[in-house]
Symmetry: C2
Subunit: 445 residues, 2 copies
């Protein structure tokens, strides 16, 4: 018996960066995994069938770096540089957040993610316990990291992160995993980073950290430590296990060699990095060195959407422009960043990000009939360069349908929108004297 | 009496690059123009009302450079450099086109444009008579230019363009205007460009031309003529009247001064220019010099969509990245490129691209309630950075509703999709010996 049978879909597969399509195939799901992909599978053996005619089945998209609850602050700080963005807007505003706010903000962000075909997110935030609860309830897959800052309460933070890891790592049938989330080398001392790394090693989990976002951060690190942020992180032991470095926009050839040598994945968030004018990682050089490059959305306060196909499109367009080479970041390789490479970055390689027999049933169906997608000369290119999130009709995670024909089945969206609306006036009170942390002034470097 | 009354909409206005919102206003339309904008207008005076609650009224978006019928070739030539794109794909494929193909391809492209809030397009193609027919039937607004190439039949081409201009310039209640469309200085001789300029002057119309798309084109022009493409165009008299220069990616300070001095508008097509890796115009320098910069989609064979908000978003992101300044191309100024600046470029300034009393009633309503748009801290930023074409619900051109609640009222979309599908196999037969023109090999420069 099959738990779910998807019928008559065009199945996107990507092998070594080369996309191919299995036309009009069926996909059978058993026990949360893909059990069969074939031209015709008998529906008599299926508990539930879903007619996917005229739709493309794609691996669920993977968001490798996000702050999902920041959906609450979408559009709150536009056209401002990163120092002002942090010090005058985001960090003061975040002091307003209660666990209930974070819970509803996360649900809003997850609703948007599911509606755009994202099935897994690496989330880096605080009050992570309510975020884990939201992920569990919605049926999403997530890698969660509780953000840690240096300060007087380092030991308390570590104890809380340790407790959170024990409670949630592997929870919800392994849909939820937990890594350690030191914020960044500019907000954590080297000795705190070392304690975080040791805790991660003890617990057998990885590290998710912001790294070398701006040129000024590198200058400041060289001035304070005589080493780049990447070297500081390496020296603290953060790369002794699996790790995601978010941004890594400003890395030297030596930094790149370190990332490659330690198997550190880089999560590029092109929209945020362009919008804040801080620079985008040298993706071609990273990939040539063997670094896994994945894609993230960052928070909606800088990125404005959780649309990972938009991130993929931006990155390919930017790399073609920067290299002056239209062949750079071709369609298949770019789609891989948002799927298989994301899985690799999050430690879920071969389990998600691919549509193969044996993989977890995390996938999205995309309607291909709209005027803006027709005619279909190249289905993979159409996905990357023409599709909109609204073309995603159905999303399945771990074999469970989370959205069917654009209807969210696990999130009460009207209630989420009401709860968020009710909180906005209080959340936008800004007292800049009160901040989560202080972003260092670039001029002090 | 009002012909149409839009009720309870949030009205986006932009003045000198600064956006403002008139909350919950009504817009009355009389005789194809906006007759009143006020908090409450009596519906008793309206022949038809439309409840726009929860929607943003924006000026209809203006696509300042497109080849609409190239929707037929969406995705046909991916990840290839411009020489190969032209010589091995587009120009051979275009020899397959019949007038009927161009007609249906144009309808497909116009359907996509209307569905994404575009109300006016500057189209540059051939078999322009069937394109004019399609524009007339759909109710769109367009500035049409019949593409001209140097060759043995220059006089015939000029005669045809002259005849086309006489027939269609000012047609459909002035929804359709015609300019001359010399293809580019690399496909037209200086003497032919001079004849085109003289014809345009005689007819009292402007010029729409491709200019300085690639660095190689500039090198070739310097080598062949001792002058840049901009100087060649100026010397031919192409800038003696109104003109749109598409791309202008590679312009010197002298070129920029010429464009500014002659009031030539530049239509930037950022997605195409990034995707082909050919470079994007120095938008900040052009604007500082006083050049009107507008936005285009180019054809779907390079751009893959006709989504002008996507072009606007790309341009702002790119300028922030290139300048390292998050304040560059702020939200209001960027939205202006897609609206008022487009109107200026096409010679329709103050008539379209603005929501003011007296302007033509060309506008779109955008639903603001979706999860990916909420909460609404900054409505203009949400439009630019979060909205999708699918959020556009209703489109009005010249006071006539072309789309209502996502339903196209002037295009039989199922029939268009069927007609396009029936043509694709024939249209994708590629015989590279047969071409519209030959793109010069960069190495020959």
């Amino acid at each position: 018996m099959y738990d779910l049978l998807l019928q008559h879909v065009d199945v996107l597969q990507i092998t070594n960066g080369v996309p191919s399509i299995l036309s009009r195939h069926d996909i059978a799901i058993v026990n949360r995994r893909i059990a069969a992909i074939a031209p015709q599978i008998s529906p008599g053996l299926a508990r539930e069938t879903l007619n996917g005619e005229g739709q493309i089945a794609i691996p669920g998209l993977i968001n490798s770096h996000a702050h999902t609850a920041m959906s609450l602050f979408r559009g709150v700080a536009e056209d401002v540089p990163i120092e002002e963005w942090f010090n005058n807007f985001i960090w003061p505003l975040e002091t307003n957040l209660t666990p209930e706010d974070v819970y509803w903000g996360t649900l809003l962000g997850l609703a948007e993610m599911i509606e755009s075909g994202v099935t897994c997110v690496a989330d880096h935030y605080f009050m992570m316990d309510v975020i884990a609860q939201a992920v569990q309830e919605t049926g999403m897959r997530a890698l969660l990291a509780w953000t840690l800052f240096s300060g007087a309460d380092e030991s308390d933070q570590l104890a809380r992160a340790r407790q959170f890891t024990k409670q949630w790592h592997g929870a919800a049938g392994d849909r939820i995993r937990v890594w350690m989330g030191p914020h960044a080398p500019y907000t954590c001392t080297p000795s705190f980073l070392r304690r975080v790394a040791q805790t991660a090693q003890e617990l057998g989990v990885g590290i998710h950290i912001h790294l070398a976002e701006t040129a000024a951060q590198v200058t400041q690190s060289l001035s304070a430590h005589g080493r780049s942020p990447v070297v500081v992180a390496r020296d603290a032991g953060l790369f002794d296990g699996p790790a995601i470095a978010a941004h890594a926009a400003h890395v030297s050839p030596e930094d790149i060699a370190i990332l490659a040598g330690h198997g550190v994945a880089v999560a590029v968030t092109p929209k945020t990095e362009m919008k804040l004018g801080i620079g985008v990682a040298p993706v071609m050089a990273l990939r040539e060195a063997g670094v896994t490059v994945a894609l993230g959305s960052d928070g909606a306060a800088s990125n404005n959407t959780y649309d990972i196909l938009e991130s993929a499109r931006l990155l390919a367009l930017l790399e073609k422009l920067r290299s002056g080479n239209a062949r750079a970041m071709p369609v298949g390789a770019t789609l891989e960043l948002a799927t298989a490479a994301g899985a690799q970055a999050l430690g879920w390689q071969n389990e998600i990000g691919v549509l193969h027999v044996g993989a977890r049933a995390d996938l999205a169906l995309v309607r291909s009939g709209a005027a803006h997608l027709q005619p279909l000369h190249d289905l993979a290119a159409t996905l990357l360069y023409s599709a909109q999130p609204a073309d995603v009709s159905t999303v399945i995670v771990d074999g469970r349908i989370l959205m069917r024909d654009r209807e969210l089945l696990t999130i009460d969206k009207p209630r989420v929108l009401r709860e968020v609306a009710a909180r906005i006036e209080r959340l936008t009170q800004r007292q800049t004297a009160q901040r989560i942390a202080v972003y260092p002034d670039a001029r002090s470097a």
